[in-house]
């Protein structure tokens, strides 16, 4: 209990860029989510399938991160402030890594994780409500993986990704309803849908000398296709014909990520890790909604997003205080994929530093627990070219997480 408390007092990091959530392993989260060239546990299935073959035992790991994001928006003309009341989101991970027989070069694994998603809820009546009142985005990736240690110094791995996602977007419509004068009863629309997509995750892990490890991974783009979303309109009775409830089709690209990682091990107690990510956000060019029942008022929409490909850097370290206790820290820097003029209340994104701390503790031979904590803040001023919403977004993110690992 004492240890747990101490750990929780350390801010730690998970980084989010765009609507990507980088919370896939508590060990790595303690080190700014660097880990492509470290092969420490079953979460290597995500971070580097090539490195998974170097993990020595069977391992099952489950974890979650309580992501608390608080946002605010200062409108630049009225100087009115709006706040988010987003609920705590809990991206989770579940990894299972198995060897066919002892000391086998071949490992089989199954990874389930949530690499994209968040819920943004703006306060009632805020001035940007015709752009967005609430967005819930969730994706679950299921990744069966094969990892093979070619030599004692090289491992390769590949995973097939099946992804399932859901999106729920709500915003107000600028049509006033009601018989009461001065009514503020604006219409609203809710777009709700689920989709799926496919992709892969491949990696290579090399340990040229004991003091150095190198990892290179590529996670493919996954196009989440929402083929039968449901649009529900709440509008004045006289306009119901103009806004018929019905199906819509949309698509959201979850970008490809290439990562080059280095691990340095100066002595048996210290590990340092550096990851350089290149994220293919350029794929998020347009957010389009194609409605099945078009009317004069309800036309298909295409909103430019024009995201840019970006780099992110993650630097972290781990130090073993004793045989059973490790402490970690890290710092990350991410460049925002969102250009000026395209910042939206969905993802008020900015270049940002992430700071993380973490801790790992062994309970005997079989059980390990890792905890981590992330803190990041971002501020972005913009005037959106589509909605003309002009102001400053600011967000604070705190994300404490925990995982429990069983090795056998």
């Amino acid at each position: 209990m004492r240890i747990l408390l101490i750990c929780l007092l350390f801010p730690f990091i998970a980084s989010a860029q765009g609507f990507q959530v980088n919370l896939q392993g508590q060990v790595q989260q303690g080190m700014a989510s660097a880990g492509t060239a470290l092969m420490q546990d079953a979460s290597s299935l995500f971070f580097n399938p090539g490195g998974a073959s170097f993990v020595n035992r069977n391992e099952i790991s489950i974890g979650t991160t309580f992501t608390i994001a608080k946002g605010a928006f200062l409108e630049h003309n009225t100087f009115e402030t709006a706040k988010t009341t987003s609920p705590v989101s809990t991206p989770f991970t579940a990894y299972g890594l198995f060897q066919i027989k002892d000391s086998s070069r071949l490992k089989l694994g199954l990874a389930v994780y949530t690499p994209f998603g968040s819920t943004v809820q703006w306060e009632d009546g805020w001035t940007g409500r015709f752009a967005l009142t609430r967005l819930r985005l969730l994706s679950i990736f299921v990744q069966p993986t094969v990892s093979y240690r070619i030599t004692d110094k090289i491992g390769i791995g590949a995973g097939f990704v099946y992804s399932y996602g859901s999106v729920n977007l709500q915003r107000d419509l600028p049509v006033t309803q009601g018989t009461t004068e001065n009514s503020d009863g604006y219409g609203r629309v809710e777009l709700d849908g689920t989709g799926q997509g496919f992709g892969y995750n491949v990696g290579i892990y090399v340990e040229p000398i004991p003091q150095l490890s190198i990892g290179l991974t590529y996670r493919s783009q996954v196009n989440m296709k929402l083929n039968s979303g449901t649009a529900t309109f709440s509008v004045p009775t006289s306009l119901e014909e103009n806004f018929p409830d019905g199906d819509f089709v949309s698509e959201l690209p979850l970008p490809q990520v290439a990562t080059l990682g280095f691990g340095v091990h100066p002595n048996s107690k210290l590990d340092l890790a550096l990851d350089i990510n290149y994220v293919g956000w350029k794929a998020y060019d347009t957010l389009a909604f194609d409605y099945a029942n078009n009317t004069e008022s309800l036309v298909d929409t295409k909103s430019a997003r024009l995201y840019e490909n970006i780099f992110a850097f993650r630097l972290g370290g781990q130090y073993a205080l004793s045989k059973s206790l490790r402490i970690r820290a890290g710092v990350g820097y991410g460049i925002s994929p969102v250009q000026d003029g395209y910042v939206t209340p969905e993802t008020p994104d900015a270049n940002r530093f992430n700071y993380t701390l973490g801790l790992g503790y062994n309970f005997g031979d079989h059980f390990t627990t890792d905890i981590s904590m992330l803190y990041t803040t971002a501020t972005r001023e913009d005037t959106n070219l589509e909605t003309n919403l002009s102001g400053t977004f600011k967000v604070h993110v705190f994300a404490p997480g925990i995982s429990i690992n069983y090795k056998f």
């Binding site: 003309n77 006033t176 003309n388």
Partner: protein
């Protein structure tokens, strides 16, 4: 202090308590503006007349009330409008109630969404004098011309309602009695509008030049000179292109759609008069005493007024076999008269603003932006009738959201001129057209 707060937040991290981010806002200030006695002078917009009547919701959301609300964020000021009862049906010069959106069945027995009167008749009691409930900062008088501002005993029921002495007082006298320290002026629209609303059958617009009570420039000068004589500061706006209001743009000049048979039967009648029709779109016919047979087709640039009886057009051949009566049409000559007068008024307004060093509001440019459409915080607005979301149901005056945007133009001009920092209004918090 900020640092302390920051560390306090950070120290709470472990408890998973996140502080909501605070974004530093700019300090508001009044600069050279002294809003202690804000007086608004103007016509329909200033009064909050909309939906073709004076009524509570319109008055409450007049752009000048919204300016006062914003001034109040910087310094508490009194601002009072001569409000009708919240439950009043509203009143206009014909004794009608205000317009609301409802359902109307036309001569073809087709029912559709349309502006209809809130009740069979207007609120007759609303026009009794309420001066003793004042003082009122809002001296907006619908249908007031610039030349009427200093007319003693000015005969206008909306002035008589708020006059200190309906038989003998003038608007300008009543303004002076309030000792204004800050003012907004919108004058001149009705000097054009009376002629425009009559389809060019009323007397021509107020002359640009002339003494107070006769010409626009002299009348305006008297108002501004009087009100600034004890150092008051204020903002004045020019006049938008009223002919781009939905009242004049909703019914197209060439809205007569004919099939081959109808075109032929009209040709049988009109060809001998030198007028021909074709299948598809045609210009409507209009009365014209200057033509040999008293009828011709409209030409591009001529405008049909929203007052045209649409049932007559749909079912009784108005605009085809029966030419449209002149009172529903502005011909090219009449359009020119209005445009020339407006140009003259607007240069007089600009000169006056410069001469008296006032904040100048370019309402004309602002309204023009609505013709192509604007997007305000995700809300699309344009100058279309009803669907545009900017004009009220009378097609001439503004909705509350339109008033909020106009108020912001005044506040921006004031901030620029007087080094003040008055926050703009959040227009999305004001209602648009209310749908049943």
């Amino acid at each position: 202090m900020m640092q302390l707060k920051k560390y306090f937040c950070l120290s709470l991290l472990g408890l998973a308590l996140a502080c909501t981010p605070k974004i530093e806002s700019e300090e508001f200030s009044l600069g050279e503006v002294d809003p202690t006695s804000y007086v608004a002078i103007g016509g329909a917009n200033t009064a909050g007349y909309s939906d073709d009547a004076l009524h509570f919701r319109g008055q409450q959301n007049s752009f000048v009330s919204i300016i006062a609300t914003q001034l109040n964020q910087v310094q508490n000021i009194p601002f009072s409008s001569p409000l009708l009862s919240e439950f009043s049906s509203g009143i206009n010069l014909n004794g009608d109630s205000r317009l609301i959106l409802g359902y109307k069945t036309d001569c073809n027995n087709e029912t559709s969404l349309s502006p209809v009167r809130f009740s069979a008749s207007g609120d007759g009691n609303a026009l009794t004098n309420v001066f003793s409930d004042g003082p009122f900062n809002n001296i907006g008088v619908p249908f007031m011309k610039a030349i009427d501002v200093n007319t003693a005993g000015y005969s206008n029921p909306f002035y008589a309602r708020i006059a200190s002495n309906p038989a003998s007082s003038s608007i300008l006298q009543d303004v002076q009695a309030l000792n204004p320290t800050f003012f907004t002026i919108q004058l001149g629209e009705h000097d054009l509008m009376e002629y425009a609303l009559s389809g060019g059958t009323a007397s021509t617009p107020t002359p640009v030049n002339g003494a107070s009570g006769v010409g626009f420039d002299g009348s305006l000068n008297e108002v501004v000179q009087t009100i600034t004589s004890s150092g008051a500061k204020g903002a004045i706006s020019n006049i938008p292109d009223i002919l781009n209001y939905p009242y004049f743009t909703t019914v197209p000049y060439n809205g007569l759609t004919l099939d081959a048979a109808n075109a032929q039967s009209l040709n049988n009648v009109f060809n001998p008069l030198g007028i021909s029709f074709q299948e598809g779109e045609n210009a409507f016919t209009v009365e014209d005493p200057n033509e040999p047979f008293g009828v011709r087709k409209l030409v591009e640039g001529e405008l049909i007024l929203l007052s045209i009886p649409l049932d007559s057009v749909k079912c009784n051949g108005m605009g085809s076999i029966v030419p449209i009566p002149h009172e529903y049409v502005l011909t090219l000559d009449e359009v020119n008269i209005i445009n020339n007068a407006r140009t003259g008024y607007n240069s007089a307004i600009l000169n006056t603003a410069q001469q008296y060093n006032l904040a100048f509001v370019d309402a004309s440019t602002f309204y023009n932006s609505l013709n192509t459409g604007i997007v305000y915080n995700g809300v699309s607005l344009d100058a279309e009738f009803v669907t545009g979301g900017f004009f009220s149901l009378d097609g001439r005056n503004l909705n509350p959201i339109g008033h909020a945007l106009l108020a912001n133009e005044f506040i921006k001009a004031t901030n620029d001129k007087y080094n003040s920092r008055i926050p703009l209004a959040n227009a999305t918090s004001y209602p648009g057209v209310i749908f049943p």
